[in-house]
């Protein structure tokens, strides 16, 4: 049997499961043609994104319940988040989505240099997002807002604010982890793109990574108002 060793686990961890082709040709043995292979990749990726949706859905459900139960405390907790940094990050992430979309377009049009450049740009935007996120985390750490044994919060609603910060760190943490994996995967794609693996006939990995990245962007589009903006009105009212 012709073995196709590959970074199986890495592929899975980044959520980019569709199989990589052999270097002797992108069409894998068990597909009839590239159309079938590409459609399968796309469907597989979308199904994976559905599971991701339900994965985030689990914690979103928990958030919805507690938001319903402890509305005031959640607004108070949210008012401690930095709306400016959150907005900046939202904008950065939209930029990265644009560059990602354009990277797929570059791959479709077989523009290798442009593809590499846009992928790197996407990674840089993603990196910038994570740096800002790190700054925010550091602020929270200093303020004692990291949930757990060292959580420190003065005020009558401390317990429920603690819950809010549990959600803040869990949700943004999982989101950031997805971004780290996506960036790592893109680094691999940059190498392969530079090598010339992708072209008009075969760019499914780029396209799939794009879907993944846009999904991560969508998650943030919801996290941003749910976590940051919720307290903004309250903060403005003070």
């Amino acid at each position: 049997m012709s073995q196709q060793h590959g970074p199986v686990t890495a592929a899975v961890m980044t959520g980019t499961m569709p199989d990589m082709p052999d270097h002797d040709g992108p069409l894998q043995h068990h597909f009839d043609d590239m159309a079938q292979q590409n459609e399968s990749s796309a469907l597989g990726m979308w199904l994976f994104l559905l599971t991701e949706l339900m994965f985030f859905g689990g914690v979103m459900t928990a958030y919805a319940v507690y938001r319903y139960l402890f509305n005031a405390a959640f607004a108070e907790g949210a008012s401690h988040l930095d709306v400016r940094l959150g907005t900046t990050n939202t904008i950065i992430l939209i930029f990265s989505s644009l560059t990602m979309a354009l990277a797929v377009r570059a791959a479709q049009m077989d523009k290798r240099k442009l593809l590499v450049g846009l992928l790197i740009a996407t990674m840089l935007f993603g990196g910038a997002f994570l740096v800002i996120k790190g700054i925010e985390y550091a602020h929270k750490w200093e303020a004692g807002h990291v949930p757990g044994a060292y959580f420190h919060y003065e005020g009558p609603l401390a317990n429920h604010v603690h819950l809010f910060f549990s959600f803040y760190f869990t949700m943004t943490g999982i989101h950031a982890l997805h971004m780290v994996l996506g960036i790592g995967w893109m680094a691999w794609l940059v190498l392969r793109s530079a090598r010339g693996d992708f072209g008009v006939g075969y760019y499914a990995p780029i396209e799939m990574t794009g879907l993944y990245w846009h999904f991560v962007d969508i998650v943030w589009i919801f996290l941003f108002p749910l976590l940051y903006l919720f307290g903004a009105g309250a903060a403005a009212g003070h």
């Binding site: 899975v12 994976f48 319940v65």
Partner: protein, 577 residues
């Protein structure tokens, strides 16, 4: 397995068997998926769905044996009312491990990961799963999850029950909850990837002419189960992840001291874990459709209704999770809604049973081992399903919840249903997977023993449950000893019934008669190729021209002569949607 793979070379040395031989066997060592490559590496790096299925078969058997051993300890302890065999700490770890191993590492992967992996691509006429490497990855993920869980045993075990209810699991338990939770979490991704592979394979990899209404019902059943895997598993993964995070970092989302609600965990947990029962039972039902049609030589009765009922079960089955929470403090109005939906989900299962019975009508029924298991399934699943109605009914559930009635009910579904179906599948497809027949006599004996042993083990538990005996009790009031002794006696027969197949199936690998491509004269693409199948399943891509379960013509245990039976050429416009 490498021993096994060597057999074709020594084919001429074997004593002659009484079975007919295909023209493909005997003289020339034929290349198939088992002997195409040798050595551990050829197995650990395989991307052949059939070999991956064998890897799964071996690993889930190991986990089943371990989980079964735990069951032996449980039943021995409950032989006497006093907790005299082991301490409560140990007992709690034993039943937790029994549940975790059996549910997450045996029942959920059992039929999909072994027989789905092996036969789903063959049944739709594909060379492999859509994502072969993802398929292998899912086995590694499964194994990694298993390693974490086994590590948890070494680290002192876990005592939360397989349900990991908060806040006991998140705050109070002094056992290796986090390790086990991580193991189950990781294992969930294995299930997700298997389901994802199934769905894409069914949508995109069907052979020419294999329309949706020509799919075998096993494929439909696995499709429905795969939907649950990809939509449900992530939610329980998140729930268990939150428990692990709460234990490790004190991020207390379920902590009552912070105002967290422990019932919320139960919502998230059962959103998956109730449909998970259908992950176990739907593929088993799919096996039933294959086996019953084959051994009664009849087209399945009401094909469309059986296929649709699988989807109905998968869909409505998602909306009934709250029936695990009728006494939890959930809103009584939510309970009411969950109750009525639970009632409705019982109906498609009943429809299936009626259709199988109707299939037997005016058939030509024979009683080989897989059919005996199918009969066993019908009886036990009927009891299991009907006793579910007591639990979906609000008032009776209040009395029966968390008693041995529940234990008996879900064992009738999971063991009487899912495991019987699994064993039916093992015996039905064993000749195809290995090329050998097992001993029919021993097969029938163990099927009979399992049926008797199972009923003796679990029927008394219905009575105990109505008496009020709570589940997960290490010791109990004396008046229930008689029933517990009966149950333990049955368990010993049950254990024997599980051991026998392991022995004669292993024996058959070397000494069993050659099976031929189609020993049961069954329909379905998987039987149109050699046993064991060649590496790419079919010598040439099959073309489907007829509906499934067409038993209207004689079928022989042989392959068509090369070029003769195959369709002239695949039609260019293969329907894929």
């Amino acid at each position: 397995m490498s021993d096994r793979a060597a057999t074709p070379k020594t084919a001429s040395e074997r004593p002659p068997t009484r079975r007919r031989r295909s023209r493909y066997e005997g003289d020339v060592p034929r290349e198939h998926y088992l002997n195409v490559a040798y050595g551990l590496k050829s197995w650990l790096f395989t991307i052949d769905h059939k070999r991956i299925a064998i890897l799964y078969l071996l690993s889930i058997t190991a986990f089943f044996a371990l989980g079964g051993l735990m069951a032996v300890f449980i039943r021995l302890e409950l032989l006497t009312p006093a907790g005299d065999l082991m301490t409560s700490e140990i007992y709690n770890r034993v039943f937790t491990l029994h549940g975790v191993l059996m549910v997450f590492f045996f029942l959920i992967p059992s039929i999909p990961a072994v027989f789905g992996n092996f036969f789903l691509p063959m049944m739709v006429g594909a060379k492999d799963m859509a994502f072969p490497r993802l398929n292998l990855a899912s086995w590694y993920i499964y194994s990694l999850g298993g390693v974490f869980t086994l590590a948890a045993i070494v680290a002192g075990g876990v005592d939360t029950g397989w349900t990991f209810y908060t806040p006991y699991s998140s705050t109070y338990s002094n056992s290796a909850v986090a390790l086990t939770a991580i193991g189950v979490f990781i294992n969930g991704f294995s299930s997700i990837f298997t389901g994802l592979n199934f769905i894409v394979t069914i949508h995109k990899m069907r052979a020419p002419g294999m329309t949706w209404m020509r799919l075998p019902l096993f494929v439909w059943a696995n499709y429905a189960a795969a939907l649950i895997m990809i939509l449900g598993t992530p939610v329980v993964a998140m729930a268990i992840f939150l428990v692990a995070v709460e234990r490790l970092f004190g991020v207390g989302i379920f902590d009552p001291a912070l105002g967290g609600d422990p019932i919320l965990y139960q919502h998230l947990f059962w959103f998956y874990s109730h449909p998970a029962v259908y992950i176990m039972i739907l593929p088993s039902m799919g096996v039933m459709s294959e086996v019953i049609a084959c051994f009664s030589r009849k087209r399945i009765f009401g094909y469309g209704f059986i296929a649709a009922s699988s989807l109905a079960i998968a869909t409505v089955g998602f909306l009934v999770w709250g029936h695990h929470m009728f006494v939890s403090g959930q809103s009584i109005y939510a309970s009411m809604v969950f109750s009525v939906l639970t009632m409705l989900v019982a109906v498609p299962s009943a429809v299936k049973v009626f259709n199988w019975l109707a299939t037997l009508w005016r058939g030509s029924i024979s009683f080989e081992t897989p059919m005996l298991y199918a009969f066993g399934f019908l009886g036990l699943f009927t009891v299991g399903g009907l006793t579910g109605l007591y639990l979906g009914t609000l008032a009776t559930d209040v009395h029966l919840h968390d008693t041995y009635f529940i234990v008996a009910h879900f064992h009738y579904i999971m063991v009487g249903g899912a495991v019987m179906g699994y064993l039916a599948a093992v015996h039905f497809w064993w000749p195809k997977m290995t090329g050998r027949m097992y001993s029919e006599w021993w097969g029938r004996l163990s099927a009979g023993l399992l049926f008797i042993g199972f009923n003796l083990t679990f029927f008394p538990q219905f009575l105990m449950g109505y008496m009020g005996m709570p589940r997960r009790y290490h010791f109990y009031p004396e008046e229930w000893q008689v029933l517990n002794v009966l149950s333990t006696a049955g368990a010993s027969i049950l254990g024997l019934g599980y051991l026998i197949p392991i022995i004669y199936l292993t024996y058959s690998l070397r000494y069993g008669p050659i099976a031929g491509p189609n020993p049961w004269r069954a329909t379905g693409l998987e039987w149109t190729t050699a046993s064991p199948p060649p590496q790419h399943n079919f010598e040439q891509t099959p073309v489907v021209t007829e509906e499934p379960y067409d038993y209207s013509k004689p079928i022989v245990n042989d392959l068509p002569a090369p070029g003769a039976g195959a369709e002239p050429k695949p039609s260019p416009a293969a329907p894929r949607s």
